[in-house]
């Protein structure tokens, strides 16, 4: 709810983005202008429309904007231009926009284009951002994502998610493969291509590796693979379970569940599998570790009380502390990048699985999903503003994203197969 917003547009805007903020920024995305030499090109026209759609979708997902309906716009796109002098800002004030995005595209021939994108503050009539790009037509989706990232950087002073990817498990026939999609569900591909069961993928913090468990060697062993699907390295293959790896924020250590000592316990090891250290000691199941952002604490699931509940434990030892006391089936914790929240999946009194947040300090519980199928497997976006999860609300299990307060829920996959256990990549591309 904290909005430090000044009327002086030249001052630094700092918005501590709490997605639950009631007032969102009304933003208009004007129709992209296709300059003379591209008008006859149907393919180009379609691409331009798609680019505009991509940008609108990104800003809608962002959670801090109210993306205005283009049907309400007053400006005639034929006569207006994209530079400050060519825009009548009063027309945009009248439709309720505080901010305006304008874009122009030039056809350079041979499949190449030039794109010019701008963000204006409508109230002051000033240009806030300008970005140009020259390259392949096929790159325009990426260009739009990058501009959305820049817009978010302008408002939040934080890197955003529009170049991120999501890794998940996709069940096709009898196999389960590790599968990567863009954060908006597009451009999906299979990372693993074996006939086995591959499970519980998680990104390394540099985005260059994915840890996962596979039965490819007839035991649930832990592997690391490049997102391209090349180079699989075995990390941990103790007898029994080697599952549920969680990488610390510096990428140096893994927490995971091993059952080599006869029962599921938490362990920590170096990211190459060496220096194994046991963390928990109980006859109950201890599983599903997730690191606090300061790398000092693990939240995890234990059924030492009789039913699975969320606990936390110091990585250097000490007695686990119970965090959840409501419900009798709480699992799949994920610690937020800021450290102030742990999202988890709980089974409510109607035996439906939904997502909740527990504050690790106050232990206060907040509900995020309700009355829409079973909702499971939550994971945070790297900026902490979003959560990806799996849901059966539209039938078979698919991936959804939402703002961290549970608002703005959107389905991102709907293809063949069932999707589960997503994990959100770090920010893969440094901002220019």
């Amino acid at each position: 709810m904290l909005l430090l917003f000044t009327a002086n547009a030249s001052a630094q805007l700092v918005i501590d983005v709490d997605p639950s903020m009631t007032r969102k920024y009304p933003i208009a995305i004007a129709e992209m202008k296709l300059f003379e030499d591209g008008k006859g090109n149907k393919d180009l026209v379609a691409q331009v429309k798609q680019g505009q759609q991509t940008l609108m979708n990104d800003l809608a997902i962002a959670g801090i904007f109210e993306v205005l309906n283009p049907k309400s716009f007053l400006e005639d796109p034929k006569t207006s231009g994209i530079s400050q002098a060519q825009i009548d800002f009063t027309q945009w004030l009248q439709v309720g926009a505080d901010y305006l995005v304008k874009g122009g595209i030039w056809n350079l021939g041979a499949g190449k284009i030039k794109v010019d994108l701008r963000l204006f503050d409508v109230t002051t009539g000033s240009e806030k951002l300008q970005k140009s790009f020259e390259g392949e037509l096929a790159m325009q989706r990426m260009v739009m994502h990058n501009f959305a990232d820049e817009i978010m950087m302008f408002f939040t002073k934080q890197q955003s998610i529009f170049s991120t990817k999501i890794v998940a498990v996709r069940k096709i026939d009898k196999t389960k493969q590790i599968y990567i999609v863009d954060f908006d569900g597009k451009n999906g591909y299979s990372v693993t291509r074996n006939s086995s069961i591959n499970l519980l993928p998680t990104w390394s913090p540099d985005g260059k590796g994915i840890y996962f468990t596979s039965y490819m060697n007839n035991n649930p062993d832990l592997y690391r693979i490049n997102p391209s699907g090349k180079k699989t390295v075995k990390i941990s293959s103790y007898r029994g379970l080697n599952v549920g790896a969680s990488v610390n924020r510096t990428g140096t250590q893994l927490a995971l569940t091993l059952s080599k000592d006869g029962n599921s316990e938490l362990y920590v090891m170096d990211s190459n599998g060496s220096n194994l250290k046991r963390i928990t000691h109980s006859h109950a199941i201890d599983s599903s570790p997730t690191w606090s952002p300061d790398n000092r604490t693990l939240a995890f699931v234990s059924d030492r009380s009789g039913y699975p509940q969320i606990y936390q434990v110091d990585v250097n030892g000490g007695a686990p502390v119970r965090l959840t006391f409501q419900g009798n089936y709480n699992q799949s914790p994920a610690w937020s990048p800021k450290g102030d929240k742990i999202v988890f999946c709980g089974r409510d009194e109607r035996l439906v699985f939904d997502l909740f947040i527990v504050d690790p300090k106050t232990r206060e519980i907040t509900r995020l999903t309700q009355d829409e199928g079973n909702n499971e497997d939550p994971a945070w976006s790297p900026d902490g503003r979003h959560i990806v999860f799996s849901s059966t609300r539209t039938g078979k299990s698919q991936l959804f994203i939402m703002s961290a307060d549970g608002s703005n829920q959107r389905q991102i996959t709907n293809g063949k197969g069932k999707f589960s256990t997503p994990d959100w990549s770090p920010i893969l591309k440094a901002m220019p």
Binding site: I197, Y215, G244, S264, P308, Q331, T421
Partner: protein
């Protein structure tokens, strides 16, 4: 009764043969021919009913051959033994050709056999536990539980008995869950189910080295559906045999 009667005859024949040897006949007695004929007579016993005429004449010739032997008319006896043997073979052939008669005979034999089986009562389950291809039965669990129910315990006792009968087989205990709850937690739950079963099998005498454990969590359902019935069937441990070389 038939058998007893024939044994008596054989016994008598034997005595005759011995007597002959003791008497030390001049020319050689037809030992070879006689024993062949006597064996043919035994083999042809079943033909008495279905080829009575040939059988009767074969018997007559055999008796004459025996008499001739006692009278030390060895050469004549030899010829009679040979023709008796042939006649018995003929009788068997004829009896076989008389199918109607043979079938009746067989049925009667089967009835007699059945009557014999009734006597020692063998437990078929016990017998099955002694066969290598006995199917080890899976057991089921309540929701979120690794508790072995009484019903499951009885099944495990049988499985343990098979394992004790076949120590040359290792058994892989697979732990499975229904698809509710987190996949990660379910891997641990499946592991605990399988480990618990291993513990019980060990208390029943199965060697630890012969028991392997693997958890598949919710990854390999028996019934890939969402219903209470499907869930109940999927919460289980299965047993796979691994034969040592």
């Amino acid at each position: 009764m038939k058998i007893l009667f024939n044994k008596n005859i054989s016994f008598a024949v034997l005595i005759l043969v011995c007597a002959c040897i003791v008497v030390a006949c001049g020319s050689k007695p037809p030992k070879q021919e006689r024993s062949s004929a006597e064996l043919a007579a035994i083999a042809a016993q079943k033909a008495e009913k279905c080829a009575p005429e040939t059988y009767a004449s074969a018997q007559k010739v055999l008796q004459k051959a025996r008499r001739l032997t006692t009278e030390k008319k060895y050469d004549e006896a030899r010829l009679h033994f040979k023709s008796a043997e042939k006649l018995f073979a003929q009788a068997i052939k004829e009896a076989k050709a008389n199918k109607e008669c043979m079938n009746e005979d067989q049925q009667q034999e089967e009835v007699e056999e059945e009557l014999k089986i009734v006597e020692p009562p063998i437990d078929p389950e016990e017998a099955a536990l002694k066969t290598a291809d006995y199917q080890l039965e899976m057991i089921h669990f309540p929701f979120n539980s690794d508790i072995i129910t009484d019903e499951a315990r009885e099944i495990l006792k049988k499985n343990a008995r098979w394992m004790l009968n076949f120590p040359e087989a290792k058994v892989l205990i697979e732990g499975h869950c229904d698809n509710r709850g987190g996949m990660e937690f379910n891997l641990s739950l499946g592991e605990r189910r399988a480990s618990n079963v291993r513990g019980l099998l060990m208390t029943l005498g199965v060697m630890e080295n012969n028991l392997e454990v693997i958890s598949y969590g919710e990854e390999r359902p028996l019934v890939d559906e969402d219903s209470e019935e499907a869930y109940a069937r999927n919460r289980r441990t299965e047993f796979k045999k691994i034969w040592k070389n």
